[in-house]
């Protein structure tokens, strides 16, 4: 009964979303006040319907209702409660429903939080969101219905893929989807602006918090996903340039570009058409990212098995959404003209430089990801594009961004001088140079360049902060006082840059990682990275829905044992799957990582790793997301209608 109610709510949501789209788009044109007032109400109703539908599916999961095919295929009676719930979005149909839920949540947030928006703009934004949601709800209902029943029901479900039974999976998809879907609001604002034919500073101010919010979630989602693959898959890698990872990286790159050029629209009313194009591109890439990987076109480890008819449905939806918005862009955008003018050396130009390089990286990653299927289509050859291509093309382009990142925030709007800025950055430059020289002596050129780049970004962001608070020039108390009166957006931007620098440091340090695959019998030991690694014992240990073999590995430095690790191999009897649970010990700056890969003839095949800087990769991501949230709490985004006020020079973002 409950699954039928969920199914019914889903069908109702399609109708409401369609109504929301029609009313929202037609209302402002007809100048009908009833339509303008109805759009937010329909949006809230639409959200409620999807929420009920989603809760019905969660309920079916919690009570293990195996008459629902989705539950029978991906859950079982032994699955713990947490994973019975998170398993809902661990499969194709359920994850699409979660996607729709978050989309309608975004709409509801605009309806409730957008009271200061002009009624016509708000209605149009909600209308666009309604049509997008309607399309994807139709997809859910028609070809990937999570409420499909089976009769007779199996006695027990097939069970969840053991690799997915992990707290990381509980949070990674919802956070990532919020990031993807959040850009739909920026997209809707862009389409509404194209329909109205007007973009001004106020538009920039309204759209920016949405971009910021989705960017934070996307950053956190990618960080979580990378961390999850690092500790679950047992390879000790954190980024594999897999098509699905690239699909998340592409909207992050264009979203980062959008984040920066929306500032230019807000402050200087320039780059309008470009900002609109980036908003469309970011959401288009999010959509393609979520859906094309499910069509089976891209060869990926994240296999969401999907039938080709689903692929065709998705393609038609994408064609309407992306093609339609780009058509509107081609017709309406040429009339958007910039009003602000600026010199070649200015904050505006620095932001344009940032955009150019981010978009160049996007283009490279995009081409690299899509080249294999298109090479087959056009030239009939089978090939794969892997990490070496991406490393060799993306890293050189990240260089100029890292250099410019240090200088950009210190430049003034309209017209700036480069020399005084460079003089103020002498300390950051000196630190970077020192790191470069020290590490070049030890002959690790790539690591040296990366660490120097990271140090440069962090130090120049700190210099910027020190300048603003007049650190060491006025008493410390006065500096602190200045720090607390700084706009939160400025602190957020600094944090964001520091976070990026920290990630760069982590990635660079990881190139110094050492690893070794050995087969050890209990009592034997081996040397790696200056430590002695000894296997003491292999023994059995109980587990909730698996049995496991645990290896005790003692790591010692100069004969002094300082760490005992317990990597294990888990045998999931229900699914006949063996997973390895790597043991990772971190001190914040270095990971000791041991994976128990295989056991034969009484010996253990161990993968030993010493990863310097690994934790910094994810710390950096978290700091970036934190910076975004800090920026979101800025007063100017919370106050009502935007107003012009004179900001002290240098205190702007």
């Amino acid at each position: 009964m409950i699954p039928e109610l969920g199914h019914f709510c889903l069908a109702m949501a399609v109708a409401i979303a369609c109504a929301q789209g029609v009313v929202g788009i037609a209302g402002p044109t007809l100048k009908d006040p009833r339509a303008l007032a109805a759009a937010p109400l329909l949006t809230l109703l639409h959200f409620t319907a999807i929420l009920l539908s989603f809760l019905a599916l969660v309920w079916a999961g919690v009570v293990s209702d195996f008459t629902v095919e989705n539950i029978a295929d991906f859950s079982s009676a032994q699955t713990p409660l947490l994973y019975r719930i998170t398993g809902i979005w661990g499969n194709h149909d359920g994850s699409i429903l979660l996607w729709c839920l978050i989309l309608s949540l975004c709409g509801a947030a605009v309806a409730l939080g957008g009271r200061q928006l002009p009624a016509s703009l708000r209605a149009r934004v909600l209308g666009v969101l309604g049509f997008v949601s309607c399309g994807f709800l139709l997809f859910t209902l028609a070809v990937s219905n999570p409420f499909t029943r089976i009769w007779p029901p199996p006695l027990d479900g097939a069970g969840m893929n053991p690799i997915l039974q992990d707290p990381g999976l509980a949070f990674h998809p919802p956070v990532l989807y919020t990031g993807y879907v959040g850009f739909s609001v920026a997209f809707a604002f862009a389409i509404a602006a194209l329909i109205e034919g007007r973009i001004d500073a106020a538009w920039g101010r309204w759209v920016r918090p949405w971009v910021l919010l989705s960017w934070c979630f996307l950053t956190a989602g990618i960080t979580l996903g990378s961390w999850w693959s690092y500790y679950t898959l047992g390879w000790g890698g954190y980024w594999f340039w897999d098509p699905v990872e690239n699909a998340a990286l592409l909207p992050w790159l264009t979203g980062t570009a959008l984040l920066h050029c929306a500032i230019v629209v807000e402050k200087r009313e320039a780059l309008k058409a470009w900002t609109v194009l980036l908003a469309i591109a970011t959401f288009s890439l999010s959509l393609s990212g979520t859906f094309l990987v499910r069509s089976g076109i891209l060869n990926s480890v994240h296999s969401f098995a999907a039938a080709p008819d689903q692929g065709l449905f998705i393609l038609v939806l994408l064609a309407i959404t992306i093609g339609g918005s780009l058509l509107l862009f081609a017709i309406r955008a040429p009339v958007l003209a910039a009003t602000g003018i600026y010199a070649p050396i200015s904050r505006e130009s620095a932001l344009i430089l940032n955009n150019i390089f981010l978009c160049a990286i996007t283009a490279v990653v995009f081409i690299g990801t899509l080249y294999p299927p298109f090479a087959n289509l056009l030239f009939g050859i089978q090939l794969s594009v892997g990490a070496p291509f991406f490393n060799q093309t993306v890293l050189p382009m990240a260089g100029p961004i890292i250099l410019a990142m240090g200088v950009g925030p210190l430049l003034r709007w309209k017209r700036a001088d480069l020399l005084p800025v460079l003089q103020r950055l002498w300390l950051a430059g000196a630190v970077a140079l020192l790191v470069l020289i020290i590490l070049t002596v030890t002959k690790h050129l790539i690591a040296a360049l990366g660490l120097a780049g990271g140090a440069w970004v962090v130090m120049s962001a700190l210099t910027d902060l020190a300048e603003r608070t007049r650190l060491f020039r006025v008493p410390l108390g006065a500096s602190l006082g200045r720090f607390f009166t700084l706009p939160r957006a400025a602190i957020g931007a600094t944090l964001g840059h520091i976070g990026f620098g920290v990630s760069v440091i982590g990635i660079a340090a990881m190139t110094l990682a050492v690893q070794k695959v050995v087969v050890l019998n209990p009592g034997q030991s081996t040397m790696l990275g200056g430590y002695t690694w000894a296997l003491e014992d292999i023994h059995d240990a109980p587990g909730p829905d698996y049995s496991q073999r645990v290896a005790d590995v003692v790591v010692s430095d100069n004969g002094k044992p300082f760490m005992t690790l317990h990597p294990s191999r888990r045998f999931f009897t229900a699914q006949h799957v063996i997973t390895s649970d790597a043991a990772i010990r971190t001190n914040g700056f270095q990971d000791i990582y041991v994976d128990f890969a295989d056991e034969h003839d009484g010996g253990a095949e161990l993968r030993l790793n010493r990863h310097p800087g690994a934790p910094e990769i994810w710390f950096g991501g978290l700091i970036m997301a934190l910076g975004g949230f800090c920026s979101l709490s800025d007063r100017r985004l919370r106050v009502g209608a935007p107003f012009r006020k004179r900001l002290p020079s240098g205190a702007t973002v």
Binding site: A281, S295, G323, L326, A330, N376, L377
Partner: protein, 185 residues
């Protein structure tokens, strides 16, 4: 910039998106009628004869070498397998059905211990007319074997016409293997 050029410039994103969409449409259609498989792995052996090798057999029986594959009396399959590989065990019934239908299948055991291999054949059955063992795995590298099981179709002139990576399924046999037997016999 002239207004016309500005209009054309603003239309380029649409053109790029349409081209990409058209490409995806064609790829999806080809996937539907099985003329394109994104997971297919290219094999350097297609259209060539297998590289030179001489491998011993299992438990005293003679193995075979590349010269034995030069001109088989009728088209045949060479199946790479191993006793330690679970998909290989699942594939055995399919291979036995093919062997019962009169198709010659030769097997090459990849990095296997003789005792394990004998036990495996004893337990799951032996669909192979002849078996060779590649203990070092060097021949597998020369063939470009990606993983076991893997199946190669060899025609009457000894030329490899198809490589299939993974366990054979009903669909693969019906759509890919049987048409080749019709074409080359």
């Amino acid at each position: 910039m002239s207004p016309l050029r500005r209009r054309l410039l603003f239309g380029t994103p649409l053109v790029v998106a349409l081209a990409a969409g058209g490409g995806f449409y064609t790829i999806l259609r080809r996937m539907q009628d099985d003329t394109y498989d994104p997971h297919a792995l290219p094999s350097p052996l297609i259209g060539k004869r297998p590289p030179a090798f001489t491998l011993p057999g299992v438990s005293g029986t003679p193995g075979f070498s590349n010269t034995d594959l030069l001109a088989p009396p009728k088209p045949m399959l060479v199946n790479w397998f191993a006793s330690w590989c679970a998909p290989c065990q699942e594939e055995v019934p399919m291979l036995q059905a093919l062997a019962a239908a009169g198709i010659t299948i030769w097997g090459i055991a990849y990095q296997d211990k003789p005792a394990d291999l004998a036990a495996y054949l004893q337990q799951f059955g032996n669909p192979y007319a002849r078996i060779a063992t590649d203990q070092s795995g060097l021949t597998a590298i020369n063939w470009g074997v990606y993983g076991v099981p893997e199946t190669y179709f060899i025609d009457k002139t000894g030329i490899v016409r198809l490589r299939y990576a993974g366990a054979l399924t009903d669909t693969v046999v019906k759509t890919q293997i049987m048409p080749l037997f019709k074409q080359y016999s």
